[in-house]
Symmetry: D2
């Protein structure tokens, strides 16, 4: 028991009082190969992280504080797994410069921890150059304020890049008479449709079609619990990936 603990990964969680953070606390506590050594909320001092001897820091805070949190981790040679948004090109460049001086330390910044969603987007992009047509339907609860979803935009961009590199022409579309909005919005040449329906959580379908066949890749997130396997996968793999990795797909065995 004691030995097991001494070998377990020592994890600190920032943002432990938020909805994602609270799930992460439960997930790390339940993981047999991890030990939760610190759980910090708003206003708590980062010194608790080093005092507790954390080897891994999970940041699930807010855009305003995530950069300082990660900088603190790297400066103390603590690996970081980050789910907070707000990492623009400037912040990423500064982080890479800092990591250059800590060549053993890994940082994962993941806009999406749902393994199934990340797989679906990667598969969709990879498959898209083999089909004549591709469109995206994303479906969410009706309290969501933006349309389309960030995941749908990223998926469309991945698809557009893959098809562009392969020289695949635009999806055919003979529409000449359209009721405004019927054909969805256009993201880099890919049509995206946003459904808002009470009862739903977060869902996405990529539809790929050629003469006589269709391939459909659908992901459903029913619950915030779906993000925790991705957080744990991040903690388990970040030490083996020194430097900066953006996107959980960098840790998945996709081969591409």
């Amino acid at each position: 028991m004691t030995e097991q603990h001494s070998e377990a990964k020592r994890v600190a969680i920032l943002g432990a009082n938020g909805r994602m953070g609270a799930e992460a606390v439960k997930a790390v506590e339940a993981a047999p190969d991890m030990e939760l050594v610190a759980a910090l909320g708003r206003g708590d001092s980062l010194d608790q992280v080093t005092a507790a001897g954390a080897q891994y820091l999970v940041d699930l805070t807010v855009p305003e504080s995530t950069e300082a949190n990660v900088r603190f981790a790297v400066e103390n040679d603590i690996h970081a797994v980050v789910g907070t948004t707000g990492w623009d090109a400037g912040r990423l460049a500064a982080l890479e410069a800092l990591l250059a001086g800590h060549p053993e330390t890994g940082v994962l910044i993941a806009p999406n921890f749902a393994v199934g969603s990340v797989l679906a987007s990667a598969f969709a992009a990879k498959a898209s150059k083999y089909f004549e047509s591709v469109e995206i339907i994303e479906l969410h609860h009706p309290d969501k304020v933006d349309a389309p979803s960030g995941t749908a935009v990223r998926t469309a961009q991945l698809i557009a890049a893959e098809r562009g590199a392969a020289g695949v022409p635009a999806s055919p579309d003979a529409t000449t008479s359209e009721l405004d909005g019927a054909r969805g919005c256009d993201v880099d040449g890919v049509r995206v449709h946003s459904v808002r329906l009470r009862g739903l959580v977060a869902h996405q379908e990529v539809l790929l079609g050629s003469a006589g066949e269709q391939l459909t890749l659908r992901h459903d997130s029913f619950d915030r619990a779906s993000f925790m396997p991705g957080v744990l996968l991040g903690v388990r793999n970040v030490a083996a990936h020194p430097g900066l990795t953006v996107g959980l797909d960098g840790y998945l065995d996709l081969g591409f």
Copy 2:
């Protein structure tokens, strides 16, 4: 055999050289309770219909000639099953006036002969007042020129009427930031999304949602053959429905 033939329904088909008409010729020939007595193409004289002793006329022609064809049928006390579009309010009123003088004669004008599609629309309307949210996704081949499809527009109108009569409020939608077109088009307050994908034929999904549950009604037309059971059902029932019926659902045992 002879007796059976003398009891079989005597059917004439107009537009027999068109794609729908050619399918109808095959379907009537294969129906054990029907006899095809005339199959007319463009330019053939309607006198062939009466000369052949037809009791039923199936009109699958073009908007320019359908009114004259049906008028001819009614004046000769021949029941008519009509799949041609172009019947506006004025034409329908004139037809009803004509039928008033032929109280035994029935006419069915059906914008859609796919039994499954008609059922799906009727069910969607009936169910829609029990759900907080409703949206429609229609999916077709990419050579279609209009979006949304006529069937989707009619389904949305049926739903809007049913919800309006029951005092159901509009589907909730918190969208404040939208990429143009993402939320589809608006048909009488119902959002409709049009997908165009190579490989598809004609498909429609009505999505209904309330807290914790979803009801999905999907219809797929893979082939023109799917319209023939509806045409035969029309021929078999039109004599029992004197006067004008618009929509195949008038002949289906829906109870509503």
Copy 3:
């Protein structure tokens, strides 16, 4: 406010500490036209129901006690809405005999309070006689011990009855070589397939097919909350339906 309360339906809930009961307590408390006057758990005396002046009793207890609970309600001229299982033919007959002496009192016994699920089953039965083939796929979480689900069995029975009455032949099936179990189980001639998958709750698809077309009716229950609109609908309508009603569809405007 006072007047509104005096007009509100006075509701007692039995089994208030169970999972369904706890949801019902919240739902009745949130309903503007109802007042929760008693919430009883195991061992509480039924006298509290009459002492509180309840007009409606919602029974969400266990098969062992539901019959006595409902008998108590009817003897006190309290309408009852019952979600507990265990009502066999003998119990139902005894209840009807009791109700004969209380002609103003209504009892609803509903094996399923999910409005969408009840609608889907009713639509599936109604549609099934217009299609050559029909099969059912039900999908649940992997902790479920029985396969297929009770809802799937009832849906198959409704379909079989409707097709039988209309003289529709069995769904075609040319299978001559089958790996044991591949074609599902047989419920009154309808094939039913049971999927068990982590992440799911309770879902059902009825697939109907004819030459060139398919109709799919799918219901998803994501959450126990999905049963509450049905419970409230029951309370609101039970007084207008004196005598015994089995199945929530008896209160829905289906017209059939």
Copy 4:
């Protein structure tokens, strides 16, 4: 024009009168980078292939003749793309021995030419080790004699191998009471369900689930035309893959 023809790939098709062969004739004739130099039916002499100067042979014949056809091709240094079944381990070993003496010649034996289907199976296998549960539903027309389909069996085997190698435990299943066949058949520990429905052609869904999320990979074959892009892709790539390749996925850019 003449030069273009001299650069075009010179293709011979065996089994040109069969259903697949007839489609292949049309597809090769329509391909701008290919020239159809021979189309042989049952009983035609293979000498026509060499006489026509074919560089590529497409074999869409029957299990009885495919081995001799491919042997003839390799002996004449003609690349072969083979869609015929019947290649057991012994035949494959003999072919590899023959190919050892023709190091520049490529042979592709593909049990499935539908690119989307091959992608779906490969993605399903790759994803399956990241999910707790996996099941397969395959859906076909009711004239099919075997259940489950060969594609479903192969997909299940790929999934079982991938999960086995990664040490993933069996999908959870608490079923203790089952109506015979409800839970489908068992292929290497993966549950497979076979639906047979009029109106369908060939369809498959792989369902993957973990706590709070689901990933669904669905492929629909609506038409034999869906196999032709795979045949052409085979012809275009076989020369760059000397030796024996089994499965179209060997030519797809999947990276795994």
